[in-house]
Structures are given as structure tokens and as C-alpha cells.
Amino acid sequence: MTKVKSLADLRKMKEELQNKVHLREKGDNAESLVQIRVGMGTSGIASGAKEIFNFFVEELEKRNIEAVVTQTGDMGYNFAEPTVEVTLPGKDPIVFGNVTTQKADKIIECYIKNGELVEGILPENYDKIDNK
């Protein structure tokens, strides 16, 4: 192992090592970040949800967007798999259906970056128990 020779060295090292714990730190303040949940039920996976999940993880990182990407179970919109739910800080979640990598790209560029809606939004067809 190489020695750390100065405070500047240490700081540089910290920058490089940051990503080791970054995921955990993001999870700790998820509310203030963009949250993306990819439906990974059996039908989601069969329609390529895994690829979409990886796409979001990699692209958001590349484009320097702080976001928490998690997977969730079947969201019920099996006619429109893969489905992705995006929650911008302080806003209600929006679910996008039939997400391909091109569409995922659009979601990042338009909705996440600028708040512009993108085609393919699935209407909310249920109430959550927390609202009752």
C-alpha cells in the first residue's frame, strides 16, 4: 500500500473512495433526492426490467445526478412492463410504462432534469392505504 503523504493526498483519496459508501449515504437521505423504483416482478424481469434498472444506475451516475435507484415488486401494470416509478423531491410519484432504454434516457433528460413530462405516464388506478 502506498503511504498518504499530505492532507491534499488524503483528500484526493477520499474523493476516489467516496463511491464506496456513497450508496449508503444516499439511502440515508433518500427524501431529498430523486428516487427511482423499477418494478422487478416476474413479468417486469421478463420484459427487460433488469436492463432498465442497470441503465438508470449507470446513466445517472455518468450524468452526475444524485438519485436512489431501487427495485420493487410487481406494481400491477403488467400490460405496460417494464414500469418505472419516479419521485422528484417534494413531488408525487409518477409511473412510466413500457420503458425502453431510449425512453429511460428521455425520462432522465426531460423529467428528472427539467420536470417536463414524458409520454407514457400510467394513470394512478388505485388509492394507497396511507391516504385512507
Partner: protein
């Protein structure tokens, strides 16, 4: 480097490890390999999460899923369901004891909501065996800043400004202690970390060393710079093998990175740390006794002054601080003394780590701002008393502390208020007692401990505590009188005034505080020979209720000493002279005919 989209944090503290958490980590690794997920999901063994009651704990990030009481055989299901299909394994989620709801996100758990983690900032978050993770969390930045941007006096000033007080029990201002040690000139000075955690039921220091050893190493180096010492020693009990192992790994890694050794971070500062093992004697938590033990002498305290700051290890100026005190230092340097002062109360700034134990729902490790009330700690964080029983008392400060009762529940917790209430902060053990605990027996238990742990050097402690214990024993056996209670009080005061070190000066506290707060119970013991909690066996009598007994002979047959007699189908009798109060007859009786008087 592999790009991970998920982190599995498995608790690797002593508590969870004894419930096979190491096997859980191994199973996760194997299952992830088998499912080709080891490239995208990382398994990390962390330090203690604090929620020991429901261990082993597995926390999944970034979605904050908190699985409790996980068994090695559950891993297959977690991988197949949660990690592959995104469905949480609901049967392993924590259930809120009040609302009976399953909690998916650990941030919504009452246990964590009121906590503020400074000393425990990295416990349950990083891998304690990996220095890189500590550095990624601004580790060694504080040391770097001290060396590059501050004079030793600047460092001392920040610690003084923060108002940090020693977390080992006494509550002496840390900054002042450092300043004393810095004033003395010598060819060699020492920094000692006191990791001789001796209170029964306390495991704060062990958990910090197991979960975040680098925070202590960094702080010791900072202290070395501040007082002009180049050598550090950690005095740790040999019965903490995991803490020792993680500390050794951490010291080795710090040396490899040049964060210990010569010319640290390009400066002229030199510092290194060695371990010294204690045999687990309670008195060695006292700093002079600790120093003697490190020198290879008997662990006996000596009169202060001279204080260790002037003449300590091998007669050289030595600064001794406790593990938790050190763990606060790097954060104070980074965020400033003012910031630290803004937390907690005016006279006791910052937070305190407590080990919750006893008859409480959430046994575990917590860190709360000073000034929080006992009620909040016991009922909100601790989740209340087990099995819906009634709260009776909480013992703080270990064998040197006292018992606090219902009327103290709204007292803010800080060094001075606890002393005013007849107890003390101590190192942070909190043992909760319910209606089934006998307070005379509790006092006797602590005295048993201090009698055992007294080093025997001074007479008040060696003989006085023994006499206290005998008198309590007499009361518990049903031979006590009112004069005995008075004797206990007088003797306690004399011991407190005349004992040599902190051990003897505080050992009568449990006796005095239980007499003060539970006078009725003492009186019942001596006047009516009655123990309301049913703990003192000699005061109990097993009696057969004539109207319920049908003469089935079941009790007489099960009695191991033949104390029960009676004809078939007629009322039986227990001979109290023979009865050993084992309770076998009560368990056997189907007619509720035997009771304890």
C-alpha cells in the same frame, strides 16, 4: 472497480455474531455468487447497529430495509425475493410494538427516530476492517487539518470550547485535561485510551471499537499532537477478542497508509499505538490503577495528586481518556467547538451513548443528545417495559451509580442532574427494573460485585463493603432489624468519605439510593419479613390453600425434599422447615392451591 447498485449491511458486532451473523455473511456471498449478483451487490460486515434485542440485523441499502432476527437459512429467500424480484421479505421486517405494523424503512423506527449519532456515526454503516471506508467518511481529515493548519494550542482550544466532558464516568472536561498534560515538559509523554469497560451490562466502548476503531486511533493521534506525545496505548480487556482483533487490523492499516508512524501526512509529527491487555478487573478502569496495571504492577490506585498529567505511565506525563470521549474528537475538530456546544445542554454538551439492558423491550445501544429525559429513553427509544409490566426503577452508572424511580423519569439526563438525583452518569449503562425486582436484592447484587472487585488496598473499601454486603444479606434472609438499615446508612457515608479511589467512594451509592427511594421495601423486609417482588427466597413461604386442595398428591410426589405431607383426598401441608422453595409444587398443581406468602 465493480459498480454496486445495492449494499447488504450485516451486523458483525459481538451480539449478532454470537447469533451466527458470520454465517449469514457467508451465505449471502455464496447465494450472490450462485445468482451471478456478486458484481452488482456488495456484502459488508459492519459494527453494531445498536438494535441488539432483535439481532442479527441485516440492513439493505439504499432502500433502508431493516431485517431483524435473520437466520442463516433465511438468506436464500432474501436473495430470491428481495434482491432478485424486489419483494421485501415481510416476515423479517421489524414490527412496531405499539402499532403492530411492519416497518419497511428503518428511518420510521421509534428506536432510531430520537437518536443522534456522533460517537456511533460509523457503527453499522462502514466496514470496520476497511480503512478506505473510514477515509471515505472524512476519516483522518481532522488529524490532517490539525497537523497542517493548527498549533497544538489551537486543538486544545477547540476541545475546550466544545465543552466535551469525559464519557468514562467522572465527567471531567476533556480540553482541560489535555491542557494540563500539555503544560508538563518531559522527554516522553503518553496518550492512553481507557477501554477497560467494567460496569455490568455496559458495552458502549466495545461496540465503538468493534464498529469504528479508526475514529479512536485518529483521536488518539490528535491528542498526541495536542499534548506533545508520540506514543499511544490502548488498555483493553482481554475478554473483548473481537474489539482487539479489529483494533489490531485498524492499527496495521493506519501504519501502512502512514497515518501512524513517522512524518504523518508529511508533517514532523510522529505517533504510534500499542495495545495493553487487562485481565478484566473493575478497579483498573480507575486511571491510576490502570497505569499501574500497564506497568506490570498490581492494579491498585494511588492517591491523586500527582495526577497522571504530571506523573503517569513510568512517571511520565500521561493523558487518559475513555473510548467514547475519543470517538467524539474527530467530529469536534471538523465541525468546531461551537457546533458541539449547540447539541445537548449547557453544562453537558453533546451526546451520550447508553447501553440499554434489563426488563426493557429494545435492549441495545443508543446515542442520544444530553438533556433527553429518562422517560423518552425508556419508553420511546427503549419501547417500554417487557411483557407490559410496571416500571419500577432504572439503575444508571453501574455499581457506582444509583437507582432512579418513577419520580425521576422527567429529569433531563446530564452529568449534574443525575448526581443531584442520587445517581451518576457513569460510563452509560442503564439497567431497567420492573415490579418483579427486589430493590434490596439489587443493592446486594452490586455490593457483591464491588466486594469481589475491591483491590483491598484501603480499609474502608475492603472491610466496609464486605460489612455492607453482610448486612444486606442478613436483611434478605429475614434476620434484619431497623437498626441494620441505620447501620447501612452510617457505614455507607463513612466509606464514601474515607475510601481511597473512585471505586470505594461510590460503591455505597446503590445502597443509599435504594434506601432513599425504596424505604418501604426495606421496612417490609425487616418488620414483616416480606419481599413483595418475591425475589428473596428466605422470606417466601409456600402455603397450601385448604379450600382449593383436593388431595391429588401431585405436589407431594414432585417435591424433591419430601416437605409436603397429607393423605390422599385430604388437604396437604407444606413443612416450611424442610421446603427449599424450588417452586416445583406450584407448577404441578392444577387447582391453584399453592401460593407464595
Amino acid at each position: 472497480m465493480a459498480k454496486y447498485s445495492m449494499h447488504l449491511l450485516v451486523c458483525g458486532g459481538t451480539g449478532c455474531r454470537s447469533a451466527h451473523s458470520a454465517k449469514i455473511t457467508e451465505n449471502f456471498k455464496n447465494e450472490l455468487d450462485a445468482s451471478n449478483l456478486s458484481e452488482t451487490i456488495q456484502v459488508i460486515e459492519t459494527g453494531c447497529f445498536g438494535f441488539c434485542e432483535k439481532g442479527p440485523i441485516v440492513k439493505i441499502m439504499p432502500d433502508n430495509t431493516f431485517y431483524t432476527q435473520v437466520k442463516p437459512e433465511d438468506i436464500k429467500e432474501i436473495v430470491a425475493e428481495h434482491l432478485i424480484k424486489g419483494r421485501k421479505v415481510t416476515r423479517l421486517l421489524y414490527i412496531d410494538p405499539e402499532k403492530k405494523e411492519k416497518i419497511e424503512d428503518s428511518k420510521h423506527m421509534g428506536f432510531y427516530r430520537k437518536q443522534l449519532r456522533i460517537a456511533l456515526r460509523n457503527c453499522g454503516f462502514i466496514d470496520p476492517e476497511n480503512i478506505d471506508e473510514y477515509i471515505a467518511r472524512e476519516g483522518y481529515e481532522a488529524l490532517g487539518r490539525c497537523l497542517a493548519e493548527m498549533t497544538p494550542q489551537d486543538v486544545i482550544n477547540i476541545v475546550k470550547e466544545s465543552g466535551l466532558r469525559g464519557r468514562g464516568g467522572g465527567g471531567f472536561p476533556t480540553g482541560l485535561k489535555w491542557e494540563f498534560a500539555s503544560k508538563y515538559q518531559a522527554d516522553q509523554k503518553y496518550v492512553v485510551c481507557n477501554a477497560d469497560e467494567g460496569d455490568p451490562g455496559a458495552f458502549m466502548d466495545r461496540s465503538i471499537l468493534e464498529g469504528d476503531p479508526h475514529s479512536v486511533i485518529e483521536a488518539m493521534a490528535i491528542c498526541g499532537y495536542a499534548i506533545g506525545a508520540t506514543k499511544g496505548l490502548v488498555y483493553i480487556r482481554a475478554e473483548y477478542p473481537l474489539a482487539i482483533k479489529r483494533l489490531q487490523i485498524a492499527i496495521k492499516q493506519a501504519r501502512e497508509y502512514g497515518l501512524l508512524g513517522k512524518n504523518i501526512l508529511g508533517s514532523n509529527f510522529e505517533f504510534d499505538i500499542e495495545l495493553r491487555y487487562g485481565a478484566g478487573a473493575f478497579v483498573c478502569g480507575e486511571e491510576t490503577a490502570l497505569i499501574h496495571s500497564m506497568e506490570g504492577l498490581r492494579g491498585e490506585p494511588t492517591v491523586k495528586p500527582p495526577f497522571p498529567a504530571e506523573s503517569g505511565y513510568w512517571g511520565k506525563p500521561t493523558n487518559v481518556n475513555n473510548v467514547e470521549t475519543f470517538a467524539n474528537i474527530p467530529v469536534i475538530i471538523l465541525k468546531g467547538g461551537k457546533w458541539f456546544r449547540s447539541i445537548g445542554t449547557e453544562k453537558s454538551p453533546g451526546t451520550k451513548v447508553f447501553a440499554l439492558a434489563g426488563k426493557i423491550n429494545n435492549v441495545g445501544l443508543i446515542e442520544v443528545p444530553m438533556g433527553i429525559t429518562l422517560r423518552e429513553v425508556i419508553f420511546e427509544i427503549g419501547g417500554g417495559i417487557k411483557d407490559g409490566k410496571k416500571f419500577k426503577a432504572v439503575q444508571t452508572g453501574g455499581p457506582s451509580g444509583g437507582c432512579l424511580t418513577e419520580k425521576h423519569l422527567d429529569t433531563p439526563i446530564e452529568f449534574d442532574t443525575l448526581i443531584a438525583a442520587g445517581s451518576m452518569m457513569g460510563s452509560g449503562g442503564m439497567i431497567v427494573m420492573d415490579e418483579d425486582d427486589c430493590m434490596v436484592a439489587v443493592a446486594k447484587f452490586y455490593l457483591e460485585f464491588t466486594v469481589e472487585e475491591s483491590c483491598g488496598k484501603c480499609a474502608p473499601c475492603r472491610i466496609g463493603n464486605k460489612r455492607l454486603h453482610e448486612t444486606l444479606e442478613k436483611i434478605c434472609k429475614g434476620n434484619g432489624t431497623r437498626e441494620d438499615i441505620e447501620l447501612l446508612q452510617n457505614m455507607s457515608r463513612v466509606i464514601k468519605d474515607t475510601a481511597l479511589c473512585g471505586l470505594g467512594q461510590t460503591s455505597p451509592n446503590p445502597v443509599l439510593s435504594t434506601i432513599d427511594n425504596f424505604w418501604d421495601e426495606y421496612i417490609e423486609h425487616v418488620d414483616q419479613k416480606k419481599c413483595r417482588a418475591g425475589v428473596c427466597k428466605d422470606l417466601m413461604q409456600y402455603v397450601i390453600r385448604a379450600e382449593n386442595c383436593v388431595g391429588c398428591t401431585a405436589c407431594a410426589r414432585v417435591c424433591p425434599v419430601g416437605a409436603i405431607s397429607g393423605e390422599r383426598k385430604s388437604v396437604h401441608k407444606i413443612d416450611p422447615a424442610i421446603c427449599i422453595k424450588c417452586g416445583a409444587c406450584i407448577e404441578k398443581c392444577k387447582f391453584d392451591a399453592i401460593f407464595i406468602q
